[in-house]
């Protein structure tokens, strides 16, 4: 069977390529990775007038065929037919930012030299007009010798014309493909400027409002304050908006376990379904609301162009530990959860910067560790007031966060001077024009990221929960025995105990460490389970967990446990995502 004709959408970063791709393919997209690299491959289908399907692939944004980043290398290799796992495109759609022709045409000229059937989408003509730039697409057509279609992808304007042009292009007979004729970059740049000036009919200098907005948002004093406010709102939303859906999910999980308990007779099978499978699925979807809200903000910040400004504001500080400003948002997101944080590092083009960011992201105190902190602090730290409005418990909590941050910065510093030395050129970025991204595109982005999360982290969390359930429940304790000691997990915990005893951990902690690998906050319920399972009298179960711990653990043990949670190895989902995002190299 012949593969579908492949049409590649190519263009420089910020040309509105993804919006155009979304407008052409709608929500029917597939997101994968190019084999062997961490570059995403977005593809979708397009139906021609006669009903023939065509595969459309959205190439990573590139400034030229001479790559300066991994993304650009993939784009070049696909276009030249040298990318593993990808066939050479049969035709090209080049996306140009109408208000940035003299730059974007340089890449377009390189692409034209390839000799593939090509259409040019002159995108964002509305923003160009807003900037006082009047263009003549006919002149551009003449100069380039290619069909040019005016589009405003974010408003879905000109998409039907573009669709028709793709139809015409693929119906026309094909001519041969040239090899990459390597014209000199500066020569191409000069030719690009000539063409651009030929296409410009009228240029009235207007004060662009992107510049005006930047004067405020990049202001040395006001800028950082606004950034802090934006981040505050983001975090407030992540925690406040997620409460209701998380409660629904908890209800749904409880309801499902209730049904399962009624249907299945008591025993190992029921226990596996209820405590293993349903609890596992529950653990996965409890994460979803926070993660989706976080992705919503990340996509909005990226789509509007503010993400790059945040990086600009924070670059100098991040540079101090050998990172780039680009690492700021991913690291900040990791305070909610390291998984979306690590996934957001894709915008960092310098590989070493990116790897360092990925490796230190889990040191940021994620929200899953909060229940553990809260439990232990309320159990062991006296609620004394240090001064007006400041309590000791709050200070300890704050201190734990600071420990994580300090640890992360130190780790970055050491990594950048050791294994990941050199190449901190990570901060050279275009500041795109501000624009409001279509909510549909944001929705598509959230959807694809949710899929990635469920596929990568979800399956692992679910699997681990079931395995841990098995370890904790087999073999079953005989009456009079402690389940937490008889089970395989109990034996493993005893093994771990001998290792971790010197740092002050007891058997209960060793046991809690196992499920905490699946998800941090599970440590609390694991400890609760240990005490609940082992106790025979009803009152004791009802006694608050904090109360019980206070009697069971000495203070140093509790502090050791807290310290472990600040710096401990990451949860399995983080490790899974780290592996995926780094392709396993460490």
């Amino acid at each position: 069977m012949n593969p579908l004709p492949l049409v590649a959408v190519a263009g420089s970063p910020n040309a509105g390529k993804s919006a155009l791709f979304n407008a052409l393919t709608g929500a029917r997209q597939k997101v994968g990775n190019y084999p062997g690299v961490t570059v995403e491959r977005h593809s979708g289908r397009l139906l021609l007038g006669d009903g023939r399907p065509v595969e459309l692939v959205d190439l990573p944004g590139a400034y030229s065929l001479d790559p300066a980043s991994l993304d650009e290398a993939v784009t070049r290799d696909v276009l030249l037919g040298k990318q593993k796992g990808e066939r050479q495109p049969d035709a090209l759609v080049i996306v140009l930012d109408a208000s940035n022709l003299d730059n974007h045409l340089r890449f377009a000229l390189q692409l034209v030299e390839l000799g593939l059937p090509t259409i040019v989408a002159l995108n964002m003509v509305d923003l160009a007009r807003r900037d006082g730039l009047e263009l003549d697409p006919k002149a551009l057509e003449r100069e380039l010798g290619l069909p040019v279609v005016e589009t405003v992808a974010v408003r879905r304007r000109g998409i039907a014309d573009l669709h028709a042009a793709i139809d015409d292009m693929l119906s026309a007979p094909r001519c041969g493909v040239h090899d990459h004729v390597k014209s000199d970059l500066l020569h191409l740049q000069r030719r690009a400027r000539e063409i651009a000036s030929a296409a410009v009919v009228n240029e009235t200098p207007v004060r662009r409002w992107t510049h005006r907005l930047d004067s405020l948002l990049l202001h040395p004093v006001v800028g950082p304050i606004i950034l802090a406010l934006v981040m505050f709102v983001m975090f407030q939303a992540v925690f406040a908006w997620s409460q209701t859906p998380v409660a629904w999910i908890a209800d749904a999980v409880a309801w499902a376990s209730g049904i399962a308990s009624d249907l299945i007779p008591a025993g190992l099978v029921r226990s596996m379904v209820v405590d293993g499978a349903i609890a596992g699925v529950g653990a996965v979807i409890t994460f979803l609301p926070q993660i989706l809200i976080l992705f919503f903000f990340i996509l909005l910040l990226e789509g509007t162009g503010y993400m790059v400004r945040a990086a600009f504001l924070m670059d100098r500080l991040m540079h101090g530990v050998g990172l780039s400003g680009r690492a700021f948002i991913p690291l900040l997101s990791s305070f909610a959860c390291a998984v979306p944080g690590i996934m957001a590092t894709r915008t960092i083009d310098n590989e070493k910067d990116r790897l360092t960011t990925i490796l230190i992201a889990p040191l940021m105190t994620c929200s899953a560790r909060l229940p553990v902190y809260t439990l232990l602090i309320s159990a062991f730290i006296p609620n004394t007031r240090l001064m007006w409005g400041v309590g000791l418990q709050g200070v300890v909590m704050f201190g734990l966060y600071i420990c994580g941050i300090a640890g992360a910065l130190l780790a970055a510093f050491v990594l950048r001077r050791g294994v990941l030395k050199g190449g901190s050129s990570g901060f050279m970025m275009e500041l795109p024009k501000y624009q409001w991204p279509p909510l549909k595109d944001v929705a598509i982005g959230i959807l694809t990221r949710a899929q990635i999360f469920l596929k990568r982290a979800g399956t692992i969390i679910l699997g681990t929960t079931i395995v841990l359930w098995a370890l904790a429940s087999i073999p079953q304790a005989a009456p009079g025995q402690k389940q937490s000691e008889v089970s395989i997990a109990g034996h493993i915990a005893s093994g771990i105990e001998t290792v971790v005893k010197p740092i002050g951990f007891n058997h209960d902690i060793a046991l809690a460490l196992l499920p905490a690998m699946a998800a941090r906050e599970v440590a609390v319920s694991a400890i609760a389970t240990v005490y609940a399972l082992d106790s025979s009298d009803e009152d004791a179960v009802e006694k608050s967990l904090a109360e019980r711990l206070r009697h069971a653990w000495p203070l140093p043990t509790a502090l050791a446990f807290l310290a472990w949670f600040v710096f401990a190895p990451q949860c399995v989902s983080t490790i899974a995502v780290t592996r995926r995002e780094t392709n396993g190299w460490k």
Binding site: Y63, D214, L218, F312, D315, R316, M428, E430
Partner: protein, 89 residues
């Protein structure tokens, strides 16, 4: 490269915000390969007009520069490799 001490010229990182200037020369040897490549991609070239627009809040680094119709951010160290002459308007 050009004479280093001409009062009419300066390096791009010394240029005041809002001052337009023409690029005289770029010391490609002072930049690593990826940096040089990126600068070319941004359209930095002899003869183009540049204008610093904004400075980072800490240590006035990085610098947002208008080049052509694009605004790009580069670090002070990279800007210091670019020699410019302020234009009168």
């Amino acid at each position: 490269m050009n004479a280093p001490f001409d009062p009419q010229t300066s390096s791009l990182d010394q240029l005041k915000v809002g001052t337009r200037a023409r690029v005289l020369s770029i010391d490609w040897a002072a930049l690593d390969e990826a940096e040089a490549c990126r600068l070319k991609h941004f359209g930095f070239d002899e003869g183009v007009t540049v204008e610093p627009l904004h400075l980072g809040p800490f240590g006035r680094d990085p610098i947002a520069i208008r080049v052509g119709r694009m605004t790009v951010a580069i670090r002070r160290r990279q800007a210091s490799a670019i020699r410019v002459a302020p234009t009168s308007h």
